[in-house]
Every structure is written in structure tokens, then in C-alpha cells.
Amino acid sequence: MSVIEGKELRIIGFLCNWCSYAGADTAGVGRFAQPTDLRIIKLPCTGRINPLFVVRAFMNGADGVLVSGCHPRDCHYSEGNFYARRRLEVLKALLPVLGIDPGRFEYTWVSASEGQRWRTVVTSFTEQIHALGPMPTFAAGTCLDACLHQAF
């Protein structure tokens, strides 16, 4: 995943197909200027999100992860986002114990018509991640790591 060195960070956005992805589209159609650090992964529903998606994203070098879906009671599948809310709240307790700043992960709700709100969310979340800077990495890596880099 290439980033513009010194300007961009790696931010992953997991968006539901029905609301937030369409909301991001609305923001694009409305030509709202937005930061470009966010990479979007479209999912059928926030209920599809395994909290491990977020952990795996951080382990693979993401600097921030944003989850966005339909507002509660507006879920296309009625209850996916209710389950997601519980799971993601629990995840919030795990990240700081692992050493991942809790500010690097947020979840929110943006509907298909809320292009303006989507811009606000992306802008403030990107600012928040830039304030935290790049995600700290493991100090040295292992010996094997060094060998692998030489071999490939």
C-alpha cells in the first residue's frame, strides 16, 4: 500500500455497502474536498465485521482504522449494526492493552445521504491520526525477519 511519503498515513475504512459507502459516494458526487489517506474496504454490513479485521489491519501496518455503517435502527439487515456496536466496544478495551493507542480506532454511523457528515468524519479522523503520527512498530524485528528481507 503506497502512501505519499511524509504527507499521508495508512488509514483503513471498513464501510457498509448500504449507508456509509453510499455516503462516501455522495460526498464524492458533491465534490467535497477530503483528505486522501483513507482506503475503503466495502462490506455488506457492519455486522460482517469481525473485530479481528481491525486487529489484523493494525498488525499489518495500518496507522488508523475507521468503521462506519448505517445509523442504529437503519440497518439494511435490521440488526447487524447493533451486534457490531457491542463487538467494537469490546474491541476498544483490547487495543490499548496491546499498545495500540485507542485514538487510532473509531466507529461511527453515516447514512447514504450524509455526504457532508462523511467529509467531517474523514477529515477529523485523519487529523486525529496525523496528530498521533505513524503507528509504532516492533523495535528490531527478529533475526528471521532480517534473513527474510535479504532472501526476497
Binding site: 440488526e79 451486534y83 456496536r85 466496544e89 476498544k92 473509531e106 468524519v121 477529523s124 509504532p136 516492533f138
Partner: protein, 320 residues
């Protein structure tokens, strides 16, 4: 009045004719930790042992014995695991006979070896007040509970098996430990984020990926379908890197979120002595705060991640 162990043997002797098997503890090759005993023959009842060396949570065997009539001896934390298995419908209440006990705390064999330099020949352990006495070769060695108990016992939420068919002995309180060492979770919380990451890097570098934590966990019930072995999706790769090992620990913690009863088997089984229950404790604390729920306390309750409320009382969503 008979001692708890005699009372336990009598109760098992009475119940055994109606059961296929009773699982209890007996003396094993290691004099500091008792080993499971699977009783089908009444003659084996005499071999039962019960004291603070009975660490292993026997509830881990119940899922694989489903369909049989099984009796099981349980401490407070073991009984909570059984309740959790009942809640998840992984075992059937009518098939399980629980012999509940009051636990005075379980000794950590590793700590005893380092603190007391005692390895072999421990004949008995008694816990009285804030101290544990070990009978070794005719002598008695004493240690403070904070030095020799397992870490889980310092945060014990109930030493008695609350849900059981036969309660053996007398009810009591969890061990009173006034010199408990600082828990890893508290220690981590006093550290900065980057230091925490490096703490786990150091710990995970020691991990040999034996997956004993998973094998010992009574709630790891996926068996051949563990996500750690899956290639599609490829959750964890086989590289010898602390990141992948930490990923597995995160996976284990999240798969037991809202289910883990903190029986401590993951840490006890770990040959590298890694503080891996810390992650599960952090999740449990959050679950207690936002859902007011503790795993394994009520067989009729639904675990919090198996349900939801439209209005969550304690969840404060971010306003942008």
C-alpha cells in the same frame, strides 16, 4: 464431621452407579500439581486427592464427553466454566453431575519451585490465613500466599462452586491475600502505549507457538476448525515473528470475549510463562463495565455478544 475429601469420596461412591464416569484429581508424577483422574471403577475412588494442588480445570473434558453421564469435581472457577458451557448449549445439564467444592486457592507450581526451591516430594499443602504450608520430606516449609498462589486467585470472584448438584464441605470466602503482586494489567496501564507494544514484543518473542494455551482452554471448542490454522482466510501466518504470535493471542482473547471465566488454564499451561490471560482480563473488565455481565454466573443468561439492545445504556458513541 468428615473432612471434605472423605465427604467427596462418599458422595462420588453413591453417585457412581448412575454415571458413566466421574472426573476428579489424583496424585500425578509432579508432586506440585495433581493430575486428572477418570473414574469408572469404584476402586479408583480411593485415589482421589483434593487440596490446593488441584489446579487443572476439569471442565475442559466435558464437551468431548457429551452424550455420556459424567460427574465432575469443580472448584469455584471450574464451576463457572461449566455454567458457561451450559449457557452456550455445548453440554447438557441433565447429563452432568457437579460435585462443588470450596477452594482455598490453587498453588502455582512454578512459583513454588522458585520461591521455596522445592521441586519434588511435596506430601501435602495446607492453606491457613495468609500462608501456605508445604510438607516436604517430613519438614514443613511456609510461604506467604502472595508468593505461591496462581495470579487468578488474587482476583477470585467466588471460591465456591455456585452451581452444583452436591456441595462438599463448607462454603467460604476467596483466599485473603494482602501481599498480592501487581497484576500485569495494572502494570501495563502504568506504561505508555509504545512501551506496552514493546512489552508484548518481548513476551511474544519467547512464545514457541505450542498452542498449549488453546489446548488447555476449556472454551476453545472449535477443535479442527481453529482460525489459527486456517489458510483461507489466512488470519495468522507461520512466520516466527512476535506480531503473528500476538495476533494469535488477540484472536484467542476475542474468541473468548464475554465467555472467558478467567480459570487461568491458558497461563498455567504456557511453558514460557507468558502473561496471556491479561488480554482476557482487559476484555472481561470492559464487559463488566458496559454490559454489567460476568461470564459463568447464571446458566439462564445469554452471553453479551450473542445479543444486543437498541439503546445501550453504558455505550457512549462518539459525536463528530
Amino acid at each position: 464431621m468428615a473432612s471434605p475429601i472423605e465427604e467427596l469420596k462418599t458422595a462420588i461412591r453413591q453417585a457412581l452407579p448412575d454415571l458413566d464416569m466421574v472426573i476428579a484429581w489424583t496424585a500425578g508424577p509432579d508432586s506440585l500439581s495433581h493430575t486428572p483422574l477418570f473414574i469408572t471403577d469404584a476402586a479408583d475412588i480411593e485415589r482421589i486427592e483434593w487440596d490446593s494442588r488441584c489446579s487443572q480445570n476439569l471442565a475442559g473434558y466435558l464437551t468431548s464427553l457429551r452424550g455420556k453421564k459424567v460427574g465432575i469435581v469443580a472448584k469455584g472457577c471450574d464451576a463457572r466454566t461449566i455454567v458457561e458451557l451450559l449457557q452456550e448449549k455445548l453440554i447438557d445439564r441433565e447429563d452432568v453431575t457437579i460435585f462443588g467444592l470450596h477452594c482455598q486457592g490453587a498453588v502455582d507450581a512454578r512459583k513454588v519451585r522458585t520461591e521455596l526451591k522445592v521441586g519434588r516430594g511435596v506430601q501435602g499443602v495446607t492453606i491457613d490465613g495468609g500462608a501456605a504450608s508445604f510438607a516436604v520430606n517430613g519438614e514443613t516449609q511456609t510461604a506467604r500466599l502472595g508468593q505461591v498462589l496462581q495470579e487468578k486467585c488474587f482476583r477470585c470472584t467466588g471460591a465456591d462452586a455456585e452451581v452444583c448438584d452436591h456441595f462438599i464441605g463448607e462454603h467460604g470466602q476467596p483466599p485473603q491475600v494482602d501481599d498480592a503482586p501487581v497484576s500485569t494489567l495494572d502494570m501495563l496501564e502504568a506504561m505508555g502505549m509504545e512501551d506496552r507494544l514493546h512489552f508484548w514484543e518481548d513476551q511474544m518473542t519467547k512464545c514457541i507457538r505450542c498452542y498449549a494455551c488453546r489446548s488447555a482452554c476449556p472454551l476453545c471448542v472449535c477443535q479442527d476448525h481453529c482460525a489459527a490454522q486456517s489458510r483461507d482466510p489466512h488470519w495468522v501466518d507461520q512466520t516466527d515473528h512476535p506480531r503473528e504470535k500476538l495476533m494469535f493471542q488477540a484472536l484467542h482473547a476475542l474468541h473468548t470475549a464475554g465467555r472467558c471465566t478467567e480459570c487461568g488454564e491458558c497461563e498455567r499451561a504456557c511453558p514460557m510463562d507468558l502473561p496471556i490471560m491479561t488480554l482476557k482480563q482487559a476484555l472481561n473488565r470492559q464487559i463488566k463495565d458496559i454490559f454489567d455481565y460476568q461470564a459463568g454466573t447464571d446458566p439462564d443468561k445469554t452471553p453479551p455478544l450473542f445479543q444486543f439492545r437498541e439503546e445501550e445504556e453504558h455505550i457512549k458513541e462518539r459525536k463528530w
